[in-house]
Symmetry: C2
Subunit: 364 residues, 2 copies
């Protein structure tokens, strides 16, 4: 009896071990680097950065540091596992006072279902020396024996190191190669980078990526999207299907409003030397406190007036120039957390406005 109980214990232990075993996959393990949502993919290589190393000598330090955050990067893979784990380390603080850790430092997973629709997966998470996300009980309508395609969005306001994706041992797992389509390339501010989405999938650039089912590149840099010549030179290297220039929220300071016309004219010229892709200029979305403050209203109205004048002049000379107004963006009064940065409600409204506008330009 004791003997057979012993054997039973060993058998139980072995099966627990088998069930507990996880195969871990590193996106930088071997083969083509599967990171999407960035240009210079091969040049950047095995880092979750958004600019190639040589850019460090070209752009201001503040912008370079922000470019090492993984905003807008995403990785697609196919698996038939009903459990997916993600673990990684981050390079700075987990959260900000107006943005939770799940948005600043979390990942976010969507499954493409049998109809090709992106469906959100709710994960359990813990933030520590290693950040861990676990997605359990994934059972819904598999596309094939190899499973469904998943899209994992990376943190919006943190750098990522040492990331691995785990599935129960023996499950099918393969990374998807990056899309060959020319991306929508977005140059912008904190709002474009993703502040203050509650989770990465809710940054408007990522919502747009899902809505259009089209590659989108996030070059939003917090307070540092300032229409600078050196950045336009980098932008001109990219093979975009469309450029979005959404920098006005960084151009409202008294000493910057006067720079808009010159910088934009120079920037558009630099882009047009290399690319004939459509360029969409976007007005300031407004400080949502402006309804109670003439001073706040005046700041963004002055900025938008400059952009409008500049657009009217440029469109005489430049083909493929488009324009989106404050009214077209259409953010509602409660779309921001602090009068500047969008919440998930604002991000949703942003994405609606952008997808309407961009679909008309790209798929007329």
């Amino acid at each position: 009896m004791k003997h057979s109980l012993g054997i039973l214990a060993v058998l139980l232990w072995s099966s627990v071990q088998i069930f507990a075993q996880t195969d871990w996959y590193n996106p930088f393990g071997k083969g083509e680097i599967p990171v999407q949502g960035r240009c210079w993919n091969e040049e950047i290589g095995a880092k979750y950065h958004r600019l190639p190393d040589r850019a460090e000598k070209v752009v201001r330090k503040a912008l370079w540091d922000l470019s090492c955050q993984s905003a807008g990067l995403y990785i697609k893979f196919k698996t038939n596992a009903s459990k997916i784990q993600v673990k990684y380390t981050v390079t700075s603080g987990f959260s900000m006072p107006h943005m939770p850790a799940t948005g600043v430092s979390g990942v976010d997973l969507y499954m493409k279902d049998a109809d090709g629709q992106a469906l959100w997966c709710a994960g359990k998470y813990s933030f520590g020396d290693t950040v861990r996300y676990t997605y359990d009980n994934l059972t819904y309508r598999r596309q094939s024996d190899k499973g469904n395609e998943f899209c994992l969005y990376l943190p919006l306001y943190n750098g990522v190191n040492l990331m691995e994706i785990g599935v129960p041992a023996g499950s099918h797992f393969e990374f998807a190669a990056p899309s060959k389509k020319k991306p929508v390339v977005i140059y912008g501010t904190s709002i474009a980078q993703g502040a203050c989405a509650s989770r990465p999938g809710m940054a408007w650039t990522n919502i747009l990526q899902r809505k259009l089912d089209f590659p989108v590149v996030n070059l939003g840099f917090s307070g540092n999207g300032r229409l600078e010549e050196e950045f336009f030179r980098l932008l001109a290297e990219t093979d975009a299907s469309l450029f979005v220039i959404d920098c006005m929220p960084n151009m409202t300071e008294d000493d910057r409003v006067g720079l808009i016309a010159d910088r934009m004219a120079k920037g558009i010229r630099i882009l047009r030397e290399k690319s004939q892709a459509p360029i969409l200029l976007v007005e300031h979305d407004g400080y949502m406190g402006y309804r109670v403050s003439d001073a706040e209203r005046s700041r963004f109205e002055k900025t938008n007036e400059q952009l409008r004048l500049c657009y009217q002049e440029l469109k005489q000379k430049v083909d493929g120039l488009y324009y989106m107004t404050f009214e077209e963006l259409g953010l509602s009064m409660d779309s921001q957390v602090d009068g500047v940065h969008a919440t998930d409600l604002g991000m949703f409204q942003y994405a609606e406005a952008y997808s309407r506008k961009i679909a008309k330009i790209l798929f007329p």
Copy 2:
């Protein structure tokens, strides 16, 4: 020359002092306590709690502790000041991994404009031993010389002590007396308490309060809205215009689903012994990860099935019973941060559904 520079310096210093002087007002200073969004206002007195002290001996400790958080409390005041400051201390941690400090521990201000519409005010904030919010440049269409009415929502997931509201010295300032209308009283879970709004004004109970321009009482208690008899006895003390029972997200555990019918029947009987106010029963809003997980779907569907059966039986015997379905709540796939708790997008959708439903009941 030295002498006149000295005089000039003194004059400048004096005027800085005058401009810098702030009159601080404590809601618990004198006269009627202006805290709104709670029952038992006089009994609770000079605390930012939601239940009277005697409840501590009646309810579970976890619920009592949550009732000491200021979710759904709001204070109205009238001022003609163009700058408003708020300072206070809180009783626990500033933030949670899925909810920022601005929502957990922040305040949120709306101005009623000349047309009676609530307009959001964007504040600057700092979280420290004392939490400070400053609203500058408030200039928009004053209702009278005494200024406009403001509504200040208190923190959703923290306790508040020692709060004061400051305006530049000499400005008109007066607290508004609480509304005499019978409130909509909401008994619920973490979602009703306000998780995970980015700021207090975006908790759905507070959006509802603005939309209906009607007093709303938030008795949401995180994981502790469990249809317990002792809580229904407290609820029955309140003079409500409408009761909302929105506890299903706390009733999905295997050992709780079977309790729904009994507890609800007993609870409704307790309410009806004291009040003929309409009672709205609300289904589970759904774990938004359910589209990719049959297991998750099954959990809330079982819960809602129990509630539906229970409602069908109760409505034969009880007048004024109303029901809101999962479909009527209508939360979209991206309405939650973690598969349970609503973001501002979800809160907006919640408030839309509730205001449609409640307006039909209260103002047919």
